[in-house]
């Protein structure tokens, strides 16, 4: 049998190796993040109140026509995520769920032509039934809404599961090597159903690609388990995008950004990060610690300003600024550096649809760009 040496050494008394102290700023941020997570555990996550969701649905119904009726029948759709802005991406939303009411079905069908031949995707675990409601895909971002209904008494008494209870569900494109960063957000729950918004940021989506839905962990009476739910082929990938060449002069040759691509659902910046130079930029202090003389890989500082004066930050130069769905900002971000090519890619998946015609300026690392 193969034994992992790290595990073997867990209990062993190894010599103390001094490590480089981290900055006070980093210590504060780690402290702050930890304490916030602990607070969340002590005070269960506040779910967006139903009356707010209904109000949003009503507002959306005025513009989209169909959303409110669908919601009355227990359906949580993208109108609940993006509100009135859903209209911008409506033709690309693929609806899968079968509605209990014919009227509701008819209403839902008007929001997505592709749903006319919709197949229902449902899978059961011991205590729950999972159903894919709808999906929206851009070239580098994916959103999916999944309904979870209880099948057992245990399920009924454990609704609204989050990561704090050991629940994690993902939707990932299996057809490429770039799965991206995956997130799972509980958007609504009661004793009948919980709804989750799954996102993948930094993927590479094409029509025909298979998206795998998996429950990575879910509590049961006998402990945690996992389940593969269903695989769904992408039938629509939104390809609206605008591209900007970034100013290389503001960066070093070892670590620079060169292209920005924005879509109504995401923003991606590509550049170059010389990993080998980074390794060589580590200077041995002689006491077991290292001083790094080259910037560590980090998200660039990005702010978007709309023509109505609304401004929102995607990252502050070190960390990502995450925003709740339905508000301007990003709800998921991905950062990768390719081993082979040193190409650095940062993708933010928006938490609200962005009208590209309404963008006044995108500021990247202090340089302002327009989409003209």
């Amino acid at each position: 049998m193969n034994l992992n040496i790290e595990d073997l050494l867990d209990d062993a008394m190894l010599p103390e190796i001094p490590v480089a102290p981290v900055s006070l700023d980093l210590t504060e941020r780690i402290c702050d993040k930890t304490m916030k997570k602990i607070q969340k555990m002590q005070h269960p996550r506040r779910i967006r109140p139903m009356r707010v969701a209904i109000a949003a649905a009503a507002a959306a119904a005025l513009l989209c026509g169909s959303a409110f009726a669908a919601y009355e029948n227990g359906w949580f759709g993208f109108d609940q995520v993006f509100g009135a802005e859903t209209a911008q991406v409506e033709p690309h939303i693929v609806v899968y769920s079968a509605q209990e009411s014919d009227e509701a079905q008819a209403q839902v069908d008007t929001t997505a032509d592709a749903s006319q031949d919709a197949v229902t995707y449902t899978a059961d675990t011991t205590d729950y039934r999972f159903t894919l409601e709808s999906m929206l895909s851009g070239q580098d971002s994916l959103y999916a809404i999944v309904r979870m209904e209880p099948l057992t008494d245990y399920g009924k008494s454990h609704m609204g599961l989050t990561d704090q209870e050991g629940f994690d569900m993902i939707a990932s494109n299996t057809s490429d090597d770039v799965g991206g960063s995956l997130s799972c957000t509980l958007t609504s729950t009661d004793d009948q159903a919980s709804y989750y918004l799954l996102t993948a940021s930094g993927c590479d989506n094409h029509v025909g690609d298979l998206v795998n839905f998996e429950v990575l962990s879910i509590p049961t009476e006998t402990g945690e388990t996992s389940a593969s739910l269903f695989s769904v082929a992408l039938t629509d990938v939104m390809d609206t995008e605008k591209t900007i060449s970034l100013d290389r002069a503001v960066y070093s040759d070892l670590n620079y950004l060169d292209t920005l691509t924005i879509t109504p659902l995401s923003l991606t910046i590509t550049g170059w990060y010389d990993c080998e130079a980074y390794e060589n930029a580590m200077i041995d202090n002689g006491d077991g610690s290292f001083t790094v003389t080259m910037d560590e890989p980090a998200y660039p500082k990005v702010t978007i300003t709309l023509t109505d004066g609304t401004s929102f930050s995607l990252a502050n130069g070190e960390t990502v600024d995450l925003a709740e769905y339905g508000t301007y900002g990003s709800m998921n971000a991905d950062f990768t550096i390719s081993d082979q090519t040193n190409v650095e890619t940062c993708t933010w998946t928006f938490s609200q649809v962005v009208d590209l015609d309404a963008i006044a300026e995108i500021n990247v690392d202090g340089v302002a760009y327009t989409l003209d």
Binding site: L3, A20, Y278
Partner: protein, 183 residues
């Protein structure tokens, strides 16, 4: 405050005690995450993983044996980093992480006996080799980094790691089922 008292305080929900451990240990945890991810995690991810490690400490403080906080943090930091990389479909090729011993042998060894054999194996190594082991397997430093820190050639580090693993294996298999050894 000693480690046991600190763990008891964290276990009873004392946030100040946790904050104190974070300030004391975050350099160590961050070093492991950086080492294990080989620069493939962003600063944001690194901070998220580090905070996840301390959240795990918050929920599992009562299960940690006094005197083993550091190794427990190291183990959780390595696993959480690997989870984060897996979620990003990133792979960090890690070499020589396993040794092979006969199934029957391992199952016949009691947990305490396993610990004793690992301790004996480490005690038989030179101080320098133990440091290499600690840097490679606990702090997740690369052989290149270890070589720089200890003023050695990287190939020397790799050779010493290989000998150390062989010693570990020999101690684990000592006196038992030698004919089953798989090389």
């Amino acid at each position: 405050m000693d480690e046991m008292a600190m763990l008891v305080r964290i276990g009873t929900g004392d946030e100040q005690a946790l904050e104190s451990v974070i300030r004391q240990m975050n350099g160590y945890v961050v070093a492991i995450i950086r080492g294990r991810s080989r620069g493939k995690l962003s600063q944001e991810d690194l901070e998220e993983v580090a905070s996840d490690v301390f959240v795990a400490l918050w929920t599992h403080a009562a299960e940690i044996r006094p005197g083993h906080l550091k190794s427990w943090l190291a183990s959780v930091a390595r696993n959480k980093t690997a989870d984060r990389l897996r979620r990003r479909r990133e792979t960090v090729p890690l070499e020589d992480m396993e040794i092979t011993v006969p199934d029957t042998l391992w199952h016949n060894l009691a947990r305490e006996e396993r610990r004793e054999r690992v301790a004996a194996a480490l005690a038989s190594l030179s101080a320098q080799d133990r440091e290499i082991f600690a840097r490679y397997y606990q702090l997740c430093q690369s052989t290149h980094q270890i070589a720089q820190a200890m003023g050695m050639n990287p190939s020397t580090v790799r050779t010493r790691l290989s000998r150390g693993r062989e010693t570990l294996k020999n101690f684990l298999c000592e006196g038992r089922f030698d004919y089953e050894l798989e090389y």
